[in-house]
C-alpha cells in the first residue's frame, strides 16, 4: 500500500492531528499498526471550563458595569460634591446635612408613600375584582385584550391625554365628574386638595390591568379540587372565594404589590406632564423633587444625595422582591 509511508508521515504530525481527532478517526483506524494502541477515548467534550462561560458573560457584564456600577460609585462621589455646570468642589457631607433640614425632601417621602398607598389600594381592589369577574367569562379573551390597552401607552402620552381630559373648560372627564356632582368648576388639577387624586387616577387607569393580569394568572392555578371539596361541603361561592381562592392568590399578589410599589418610584412621567409637582408642593413626590433639583436647577450634587437615599430604599425593596422570586414555584403555587 502506498499509504503506509504516508501514514508514517502523518503519525509525525499526530500532534496536529490530535486537534482534529473527531474527524480523522474513522479514516485512519484501519491503517494504524496494532501496537500503536488507540488512545483511550477521553470525554470528547468535558464540561466546559468556567472560563468559557465567563467569556460569554463578559460583554454583558462589561456594559452593565459601565452603565450601572460605575455610575453608582460616581453617584456617591457626586453626593459629596457641589456640582455645577463644568465645575465641582468637595463639600463633604454638607449635601446630606442639608437634606435633613429640607422640608421638600421629607414631605417628598411622605407624599411618595401616600401616593403609592393610594395607587396600590385602588389598583389592588379594582384589579382583583376585575380578575374575578373576567375569569372564565364568556368573552374573557376579548375583555382582557380591551383591558390591557392602557398599559401600552407611553406614560408621558397618558399624562398629556389626561391633561386634556381633566381640562377645566373642555375636558370630557372634567365634564363627567362635574356632571356627577363630584367636582365644581375648578379643574381637578388646579386645587392642592385634589391634585393628588388626579395623578393617582391616571396611574390606576394605566396599571390596574397589570394587577388584573397577574391575578388572572394566579386564579387559573387555584386548585380546582379544593374549590369543589369546599362546595360539596356546602360553602357559598363567596365563602369559597375568601377561604380558598384568596389565600391561593396571596403569593402572586405580593409580587404584584412589590412590582407596582417599585414602579411608583420608577415612573414619574405622567406626574411631570400633568402637574410637575404642583400646585404648590401637593404632588411633589420624592422622584419628582429629585428631578426638579437635578435637572431643573442642575444642583447635581444635592440631587445625587437625594438619589442615593432613593436608591438605597429601592435596593432594600429589591432584596425583599428577590426573596419572594426565589421561592420555588411549588411553594408559590
Amino acid at each position: 500500500m502506498t499509504d503506509v509511508t504516508n501514514f508514517e508521515n502523518k503519525s509525525m504530525l499526530s500532534g496536529a492531528a490530535q486537534l482534529f481527532r473527531a474527524r480523522e478517526h474513522s479514516i485512519e483506524v484501519e491503517a494504524r499498526p496494532l501496537t500503536d494502541a488507540l488512545p483511550e477515548p477521553t470525554i470528547f467534550n468535558p464540561p466546559a471550563p468556567k472560563r468559557y462561560y465567563l467569556y460569554l458573560m463578559a460583554p454583558a457584564i462589561a456594559v452593565l458595569a459601565f452603565i450601572s456600577l460605575y455610575p453608582f460609585f460616581w453617584l456617591i462621589v457626586m453626593s459629596l460634591q457641589s456640582v455645577d455646570i463644568g465645575s465641582s468642589e468637595w463639600v463633604g457631607f454638607r449635601n446630606y446635612a442639608r437634606l435633613l433640614k429640607d422640608p421638600n425632601f421629607l414631605s417628598g417621602w411622605g407624599l411618595l408613600l401616600k401616593y403609592s398607598a393610594m395607587c396600590l389600594f385602588m389598583q389592588l381592589a379594582i384589579g382583583l375584582m376585575l380578575a374575578v369577574i373576567v375569569n372564565n367569562h364568556r368573552y374573557e379573551k376579548y375583555l382582557v385584550t380591551a383591558l390591557l390597552m392602557p398599559m401600552m401607552m407611553a406614560p408621558a402620552v397618558a399624562g398629556l391625554l389626561w391633561l386634556f381630559l381633566y381640562n377645566g373648560t373642555f375636558g370630557w372627564y372634567h365634564w363627567i365628574l362635574q356632571s356627577l356632582g363630584i367636582l365644581d368648576s375648578a379643574s381637578i388639577l388646579a386645587s392642592q386638595s385634589t391634585s393628588m387624586y388626579a395623578i393617582v387616577f391616571v396611574d390606576v387607569w394605566q396599571w390596574t390591568p397589570l394587577i388584573t393580569l397577574i391575578a388572572l394568572a394566579g386564579l387559573k392555578k387555584v386548585p380546582r379540587d379544593q374549590l369543589e371539596a369546599n362546595m360539596v361541603d356546602g360553602a357559598s361561592p363567596i365563602r369559597n372565594f375568601f377561604a380558598i381562592t384568596l389565600p391561593n392568590l396571596y403569593p402572586v399578589l405580593l409580587i404584584a404589590i412589590l412590582l407596582r410599589f417599585m414602579d411608583n418610584f420608577r415612573f414619574i412621567d405622567h406626574i411631570l406632564v400633568l402637574t410637575g409637582g404642583g400646585p404648590g408642593n401637593s404632588t411633589k413626590i420624592l422622584p419628582v423633587y429629585l428631578f426638579e433639583v437635578a435637572f431643573k436647577f442642575f444642583k447635581l450634587g444635592r440631587g445625587a444625595a437625594i438619589a442615593l437615599t432613593l436608591l438605597i430604599v429601592t435596593i432594600v425593596l429589591g432584596m425583599i422582591l428577590v426573596r419572594v422570586f426565589d421561592k420555588p414555584q411549588s411553594e408559590r403555587k
Binding site: 460569554l56 356632571s179 412590582l259 415612573f267
Partner: protein
Amino acid sequence: MASQDVVHYDTPLQKALRVSAALFLAVYLIWTLLPFVIMFVSSFKDLLEAFNLPDVGDWSGVGIFFEFTPTFEHYSSLFSEGNFGRYMANSLIAAGGSAIVSVVFGSLAAYSLSRVEFRGKKDLFFWIISTRMAPVVAVMVPLYSIFRTLDLVGTLPGLILAYTTFNLPFAIWILKGFFDNVPYAIEESQMVDGSTRFQAFWSIVPLVAPGIGAFVVLCILFAWNDFLFAAIIGSGGAKTLPVATRELVQPQNIQWGSIMAAGVVTTAPMMLLGLVIRKYLVTGLTMGAVKE
C-alpha cells in the same frame, strides 16, 4: 368541570352579585377605553370642535362629541411642519438599537448564567435585577454627568446606552428563565456529534427563539415609551416621540389637535406590538415571576 354542569339556582344575593359585577365591568370598560376614543376622535377634529362640550349635567347633549367634520390637518402638519418623521426614526433607532444590544449580549450572558455555577452568582443576579428596578431619575443623575463628559448627551448612541440600563438586566433576567428550561442534554448530544461548544449553543437558540423575539418586542416597548431618559439624555439631537409630543404643549397656545394626533402616532404601533406578544406580556411585565 363537573360542578359547572349542574343546574344552578341563584339565590337573590347571587343574582344581585352577578348584575353588579356586570355593571362594574361595563363602567370600568367605559372608563378605561373612553380616553382612547376621545384621543382618536379628537385627533381628527378642528381646534374649535375639540373644545365643544355639553352644559354641565346635560347628559343628553353627549352627541355633540360626534358633531364634527373630520380633518387630517393635524397629522399632516405633524409630519410637514413638526418634523415628526425624524422623531419617529429617532424613537425607532433608539428603541430598536437598545433592544438588539440588550438581547444579543443578554442572551449570551443569560445562557452562561443558566449553565454555570460559581460563587457569588446570587450577588451578581441581585446586582442585575436591582439595576432594572432602580428609579430612572436616580440613575440618570450620575449617568447624565458621565455622558456629558463623554459628549454622549443629545446623541442617539447615548440614548441607546441609557435604555440599555433597564433593557439589558431585563433581558438577562428573563432569558435566563428560558435557557433554564432547555435541558443541557441537547447541547451534550450536539457536542458528541462533533459540534463545537458555540455550535451547540447555537443549536438550542431556535428553541428559545420565540421567547427571545417576544422580549425584543418588550424591550422596544419599554424604550419607546420612555420619557425621562429621552427628555434629559436625548435632549437636543435625539428627540423621541414622547418628548416631541410633550413639546407641543406651549404655555400660550396648546395645540390639542396635534397633541392628540401625536399621541395616536406614538401609541398605535405599541398597541399593535403589545397584541402580538400578548402571550408573553404577563411574564415580561412581572420579570418572569408570574407565568400564564
